[in-house]
């Protein structure tokens, strides 16, 4: 039987503030265990949390960028449970009154766009990390460096109907958060993690089916695979007349299956209540407007604008906008090279530039070729100084040596195209004379030989002859 798939996602997004949400400790990654701790984030008796205003700022940004309503008086609540990585025995989170409510995000799947509802966004603190060394002592340790690092939890409505939609939503959400500059969005390192609620129902049925919650999917691909697996698993149960158990299941990427977490995590009563150590978060219109005015152009708007303003294909615009810095780079190049070079700039960035960046696994930020350098190079191609092929060679020099003066490189290395008609005509004549038999064959109809003649000239000039001129000269002489 065919079922309708219903998916809702809960995303935890680690915020890249300099200090933690409730104390002054650094959030930097990779320090020695417990180096970034203080009485507050280790839950010492008597220590009190003080809210980092930057976290609120970031949460408002996330809310506005996802069309949420910003709650003027949101409240921090304690989520009570015991675990050694949780220093206070409760996590400070938000429950009844989160900072953002009822937003939405546009996604696009196979050319169709769709709006996914966002139920809420709330602020909370992360927990520490257990360390189990594999030694003979059998002792576990706790590292509280991550404890109290700020997180946003972004909860979607159960609006997604396929794994592809879920992945598209996740990508779109991550793009937005990256554009806002509030997270590094690293899924492998867990700074952007997602849990998925999945249920099936017969098409046409109004009520949702019983859902399972999937955890531990640390890449887009794993989200896709885990959901596909889970859909199949639930469909089999339903086909056999069984009932899906409402539970949390862990995705095992190695085996490609989801596994029940029952027994490990019993049903919790978190006993949420407002945290008496923190005041309600009061946000006035002025603050919201201030944040709104500082919002960058978001990915969807940028894609539309790039395609419209520069006349580049939607697919190019999408590729360039995958990274805000890449899109900015593109615009900087076009600004310098002129609007006529937009298409060519897009091609060069997506093909040649990306090839080098991907080889070194670095982002556009680390690119040694500046927008001005690339713009100058595009100019040299446009005015016929060099051919596209030579340009690639020049580009390689620019990238490898961090030399952003392509004109000088061309001069220094004598790479300028031969565009002197007289000089080229002599060469063309020479080739015609030397290959009289082939000229005859060509004129008898073997037109493919034209390429051979041009190739001979290019060979003689070390590739520097202007191919357009050479073509013209042959056409004039041998028809």
């Amino acid at each position: 039987m065919d079922y309708e798939i219903v998916i809702g996602l809960e995303v935890h997004c680690q915020l890249k503030t300099e200090t933690k949400i409730f104390c002054g400790c650094s959030t930097s990654f990779g320090e020695l265990p417990n180096a970034n701790t203080c009485p507050v984030c280790t839950g010492m008796p008597g220590a009190l949390p003080v809210l980092n205003r930057k976290v609120v700022d970031f949460a408002i940004r996330a809310g506005l960028a996802t069309n949420c309503r910003i709650v003027p008086n949101s409240v921090f609540a304690r989520k009570n449970y015991f675990y050694p990585d949780l220093p206070k025995g409760y996590q400070i989170s938000q429950f009844e009154l989160p900072i953002c409510l009822s937003g939405s995000l546009e996604i696009e799947v196979e050319g169709e766009s769709k709006t996914i509802g966002i139920t809420r966004i709330h602020m909370e603190e992360d927990a520490g990390k257990l360390v189990h060394p594999e030694d003979e002592f059998g002792v576990s340790y706790v590292d509280y460096n991550r404890a109290c690092v700020p997180l946003l939890e972004i909860v979607s409505e159960p609006d997604m109907r396929s794994a592809a939609e879920a992945v598209a939503y996740l990508k779109a959400l991550r793009d937005v958060m990256l554009y806002l500059g509030i997270t590094d969005g690293n899924m492998e390192e867990g700074s952007f993690r997602c849990d998925a609620n999945i249920s099936l129902r017969p098409f046409g049925q109004k009520e949702f089916g019983i859902r399972a919650e999937l955890k531990n999917m640390n890449s887009f691909r794993n989200v896709q695979r885990a959901i596909d697996y889970e859909v199949e698993r639930q469909a089999e149960i339903l086909d056999e007349g069984g009932t899906v158990v409402q539970e949390t299941r862990l995705w095992d990427a190695e085996r490609g299956v989801t596994r029940s977490m029952r027994g490990k995590e019993e049903a919790h009563d978190y006993r949420y209540f407002p945290d008496p150590d923190l005041l309600p978060v009061v946000i006035d219109e002025e603050w919201i407007e201030e944040v709104r005015n500082s919002l960058p152009e978001l990915p969807a708007a940028k894609r539309r604008r790039l395609a419209a303003d520069y006349g580049i294909p939607a697919s190019d615009a999408e590729m360039l906008c995958a990274d805000r810095a890449l899109a900015d780079y593109f615009e900087a190049v076009v600004e310098l090279a002129g609007a006529g070079q937009a298409k060519s700039a897009a091609n060069w960035i997506m093909v040649e530039l990306m090839k080098f960046l991907n080889e070194e696994k670095v982002g556009i930020i680390a690119c040694p070729v500046t927008p001005a350098g690339l713009a100058e190079l595009l100019g040299l191609i446009a005015d016929g100084t060099i051919s596209g092929k030579i340009a690639k060679q020049v580009f390689a020099t620019m990238y490898e040596q961090g030399d952003n003066a392509p004109k000088k490189i061309v001069e220094r290395e004598g790479l300028a195209q031969m565009s002197d008609a007289g000089e080229l005509a002599a060469l063309v004549d020479e080739i015609i004379t030397a290959n009289a038999d082939k000229v005859a064959q060509y004129q008898a109809g073997k037109t493919k030989l034209f390429g051979f003649f041009v190739g001979q000239v290019m060979k003689k000039t070390g590739g520097q002859a202007n191919p357009r001129l050479v073509n013209e000269l042959f056409k004039e002489r041998i028809g």
């Binding site: 009485p39 008597g46 220590a47 025995g89 209540f273 150590d277």
Partner: protein, 491 residues
């Protein structure tokens, strides 16, 4: 008169005149402690050498005129739930019996900056839960006026130490009466400031929305001096408010003629000991004689205060005390098989029975399915109680009442009857629920020679009014300086 018998104000005057040194005062107090402490049992930790070193430093400061305050060189004791780098901070619990904080509470930092001499740490009910100090897991503290009677609680050590002249002043904490009730039982002055007046940073939390640190002293002026040093906004405590701190000492002597004092009818209900009622009524009459206008008021939701308090305070406590899990610091049960067993046994063995009772009550009140009926309802009633006071302060400037329905009771009298113990806080609890400042000061003695306390309550952040009323009464009534007889020479 010995130096240890003097008030903070007197000593500050003599120190300022350089008639005496801090080392002399500190030696005098340490001598007194040596003489009486084995019978009183107020201190959980005492550092004589450290105290003398601080006294010497205070004298140097004074000689060099560097940042001298009225507290410079004054020996002070701290309730053992105020975090101190220099002393263990046990909360009188087995759970923290060996815990030494890595930081000082904000009030401790302020006292150090003011140049006070920190003597040591004082006994209390475990985690401030109790009204008799009988819940201390570490020590028994007696009432200096009658060793068969409790000193009150939870700041029993803080009150007994001042009464027995084992400290010139002390700090306590008050969640439902824990400063005022022991002050009343021990015949000293206890001030619970408005919620938010004093930073709670470093105060080991019992119930965060109710806890407040305050002074226990011999006189009202002493309370003003000590409050002056500890009050004020703190970037480490979001609930400490930025309202400017006035000059409390300057406020004391403003006359009280024309001030309206409200007498809440519900606070003189059945169960009030006749001797207590008589002493308090007499005090009210004396205030009227000083020109105050006495008006009867009503606080209609008083009856619900104890129930409300025991839902909210225990709910917060159940969460605040979750951190004592054997993982990071403090007690951990030995030889546990696995995490769960470590949790269960650590908490079963580390906490005393009253603490466990309150954790269970609070956990229940917050549980899903009960939250609305208990916790949320209690919050709503709390609002009603606060409104009672708001309305009352429309018709009066301060409220006067008894502190506790009875004088100090005997050891063992209520310890097996938690409800009777809880009800003894009925006249102090509403103040905490409403976040108000209130002060307890002596207003006489029972036939059996036990002190009786008188409570003055003011509107939020109106500590000046409170201190002013109390000071004028104190000057008039002449109870100041009445000390229990503890040594042969004092006969």
């Amino acid at each position: 008169m010995e130096l240890f018998e003097c008030s903070l104000e007197e000593l500050a005057g003599m120190l300022a005149q350089k008639e005496i040194s801090s080392v002399e005062v500190t030696r005098s107090v340490l001598g007194r402690i040596a003489a009486v402490e084995d019978r009183i049992g107020a201190y959980l930790a005492l550092d004589e050498a450290g105290a003398l070193a601080q006294a010497e430093e205070a004298d140097r400061r004074r000689a060099g005129d560097e940042g001298v305050t009225p507290l410079t060189g004054i020996p002070i004791g701290l309730k053992d739930l105020l975090s101190t780098r220099d002393f263990k901070t046990t909360c009188a619990s087995k759970m923290l019996a060996d815990y030494r904080p890595e930081y000082d509470a904000t009030v401790v930092t302020r006292l150090k900056q003011a140049g006070a001499v920190l003597l040591g740490k004082l006994n209390m009910d475990e985690f401030a839960m109790g009204s008799s100090t009988e819940n201390s897991a570490l020590k028994k503290t007696v009432n200096p006026w009658d060793f068969s009677k409790v000193p009150g609680g939870s700041s029993g050590g803080s009150a007994a130490a001042v009464a027995a002249a084992e400290a010139i002043a002390t700090l306590g904490s008050d969640t439902g009466g824990s400063i005022r009730q022991p002050a009343s039982f021990c015949g000293v002055v206890g001030l619970k400031p408005s919620y938010g007046r004093v930073s709670r940073y470093g105060l080991v939390a019992f119930a965060s929305s109710l806890d407040q640190i305050g002074p226990v002293t011999l006189t009202v002026a002493d309370a003003a001096l000590l409050l002056q040093a500890i009050a004020g906004v703190d970037p480490r405590d979001s609930t400490a408010v930025a309202t400017p701190v006035p000059d409390y000492c300057a406020a004391l002597k403003k006359e009280i003629r024309g001030l309206k004092l409200g007498v809440p009818r519900e606070y003189f209900a059945a169960g009030l000991d006749p001797e207590v009622e008589a002493a308090v009524r007499l005090a009210i009459t004396q205030l009227e004689g000083l020109g105050a206008e006495i008006v009867e008021i009503s606080l209609p939701h008083t009856d619900y205060a104890v129930a409300t308090y025991y839902l909210l305070a225990t709910a917060e406590a159940s969460s605040n005390l979750a951190r004592y899990d054997g993982v990071k610091y403090g007690f951990r049960a030995a030889d546990c098989d696995g995490l769960k067993e470590m949790y269960f046994r650590t908490r079963a063995q580390g906490f005393g029975s009253e603490v466990k009772r309150r954790i269970m009550l609070g956990t229940y009140a917050l549980s899903s399915g009960y939250y609305d009926a208990y916790y949320r309802k209690a919050q709503q009633v709390r609002t009603l109680i606060r409104r009672d006071f708001d309305a009352a302060f429309d018709s009066c400037d301060a409220i006067v009442s008894p502190v506790c329905p009875t004088p100090a009771f005997a050891f063992g009298e209520k310890i097996d009857d938690p409800l009777a113990m809880y009800l003894s806080d009925i006249l102090t609890i509403p103040v905490n629920l409403a976040g108000l400042p209130a002060l307890s000061l002596p207003c006489g003695f029972s036939g059996a020679g036990l002190p009786i306390g008188f409570q003055v309550i003011a509107a939020p952040f109106a500590e000046e009014t409170l201190l002013r009323v109390a000071w004028h009464y104190e000057q008039q009534a002449g109870w100041v300086g009445k000390r229990p007889q503890l040594t042969e020479e004092e006969v």
